[in-house]
Amino acid sequence: MKAFIKKEFLHIFRDYRSMVILFGMPLVMVLLFGFAITNDITNARIAVLDNSKDVVTRQIIQKLVSSGYFILENNITNQNEIENVFTRGKVKEVIVFESDFANKLITGGNANIQLILDASDPNTANIVTSYTSGIIASYSMELMKQRSIAPVNINIESRMYYNPELKSVYMFVPGIITVLLMLVSAMMTSISITREKEMGTMEALLVSPLKPFQIIIGKVMPYMVLSFINLVVILILARFVFMMPVAGSLTLLLAESLLFILMSLALGILISTISRTQQQAMLLSMFALMLPTILLSGFIFPIENMPAILQYLSHIMPSKWFIIIVKNIMLKGTGILYFWKETLIIIVMTMFFIVMSIKKFKIRLD
């Protein structure tokens, strides 16, 4: 078995294309996703309709611009110009201060800001809103300290939903971890097993005294190790490039990931038992695993917004449950008590796939 694993590693290292997939993919994906989304927010253009033009409003605008996330595109004077500004396309957000803003805030403790967002790109709009709100909130805290006045309240009214995570990078790292683990584990395993079938080497392996589980473990081990290395690379990138810490237990995260890798590998073997050629294995992995993982797991599109039938379908996607677990550990920092159900679902799925794949693994050619 040791020799089998060694041989499998040799295959991987001699095939530079696989190496590119294995190690290039996580880097490219994380960096692309990360910067593509964050760049949008650092350069968001805004317009201001200041009906008050006092010290406080000027300070708020100053604060927004100096945050680095926003560029003040223009000042408008009239409600009617708002639509005009949006149709020109550059401005993502218009900030409207009500008249007599400072006075109302300091004496009455209450003032209103309206955020109007270009909703053609809901993702960006969401993030822009949360950034603006965050900055305004921190300003009102400062204001209280500076002037030592009673708590003031700036009411922010926006049409966009509040995005509690603030940074989108936090949303996609769990998704990318899931997609990549699935891709490397399931697709690469299924391809490498079908390759043996196609090349005729499976014939030689089958006539040897190797037992099916030995062949399977020999095939699977190297990809398990590589997936794990991939995971670590993504986590390091998330931590040091995107400053995304792991809020919960790192050990727990790695353990859950290992479980998910195991499940993906079992799925990969199952795919290889039903496909005859490498192309079939690849297409099957793509359509049966990758697309649902990306589309139905809640990675990009919120499951709550899907039609009921797709919501049901998402329940049988192992990736959905894994994303919930990863988000819990990485973002909320919760422990196993909060997601033991999800873990259990994945364990059951894993067992099912392992039993199925060993059963379906053919000891003969026909």
């Binding site: 020799a3 041989k7 030689a204 392996l205 003969r364 026909d366």
Partner: protein
């Protein structure tokens, strides 16, 4: 384990296609046995049944005491199999391939070095080369080494010399003879009739049936009828003109000449008839000689009987 093989009433069909029809065959321990037949005769299917890779639709196969279906694990441990397709890892080196195959049989190159020494010394200079970069003959030698590495009692080689140059083919057969001297039972298939003479016994196979099983010499001796080798100045049209002859059973190209078989008793009368026919067709330098049949002639004669029987049955 004794490695005599008993094949009893074995049939195999894939859906509609019948690959093997009621095969009965006994191969003795220590024999070098050849399975001769054209592509699609069913040789590979029979070998796969023997190596337990494929289940027979009907019938039983025993290797020594072992049933290939029930005791497939033991059968696999004691059998060396070299599939018809090159089935080594072309991205691994010669040495890595050998070590890998040794280790999956729980042995090592060192342990059985003596066994494969004769073959291995021929490929050893290339041991750091990747298997995919070897020449055809070298690949087959490596594949044979891999099939032998666990010191099996029975080795089954599926068309090991197909696509290999003449010199390598002879070398390969010499190696098989050496293996036989070590007491192994060797079962080898080939589409090349000339290799049949190198086996102890051969089975001629076609359309999933065994046409004859005997020593090569016996098969040749049992040839019925007279065989003539014909040549003339214009070989291109000779074949079709000979096919128009009366009293002639078979006409086929054989190397530089064309072999024809007579349907009548008197050889001299037949030669005269052929000569007359060819002269009337305008040939020069006509040579008609009685010749001794080789395996190929026997095979073609047997095939002919086979199709005649079939025609009658229909």
């Amino acid at each position: 384990m004794s490695a005599d093989i008993n094949i009893t009433n074995v049939s195999k069909s894939y859906n509609e296609v019948v690959a093997l029809k009621n095969i009965n065959l006994t191969i003795d321990n220590g024999e070098l046995f050849g399975l001769i037949g054209p592509d699609g005769a069913g040789k590979t299917t029979l070998f796969r049944i023997l190596t337990s890779l494929v289940l027979p639709t009907d019938g039983e196969v025993h290797i020594g005491e072992l049933d290939v279906v029930k005791d497939y694990k033991k059968v696999r441990r004691n059998t060396g199999y070299m599939p018809g397709r090159f089935s080594l890892y072309s991205d691994l080196t010669v040495e890595e391939n050998l070590n890998f195959y040794a280790s999956i049989f729980n042995t090592s190159l060192k342990e059985n070095y003596d066994l494969i020494k004769d073959i291995y010394i021929q490929i050893e200079p290339y041991k750091k080369r990747r298997a995919g970069d070897l020449s055809g003959g070298m690949k087959q030698k490596l594949a044979l080494s891999c099939a032998l590495i666990h010191s099996p009692q029975l080795i089954i080689l599926d068309e090991p010399t197909t696509g290999v140059d003449a010199v390598s083919r002879m070398e390969f057969w010499e190696l098989l003879k050496k293996m036989q001297k070590r007491g192994m039972t060797i079962l080898v298939s080939t589409p090349y009739m000339d290799e049949a003479a190198l086996c102890d016994r051969v089975a001629l196979m076609q359309n999933g049936k065994l046409l004859a099983v005997d020593k090569p010499q016996n098969i040749v001796n049992s040839y019925k009828g007279s065989l003539f080798a014909v040549s003339a100045n214009n070989m291109h049209s000779l074949l079709s003109d000979l096919e128009k002859l009366d009293n002639t059973k078979q006409v086929f190209r054989f190397g530089e000449t064309i072999h024809i078989t007579s349907n009548i008793e008197s050889d001299n009368q037949y030669i005269e008839e052929v000569n007359k026919h060819l002269v009337s067709c305008g040939y020069n330098n006509i040579s008609i000689k009685k010749t001794n049949p080789v395996i190929e002639d026997c095979f073609l004669a047997l095939m002919d009987i086979e199709t005649e029987d079939k025609d009658k049955a229909e």
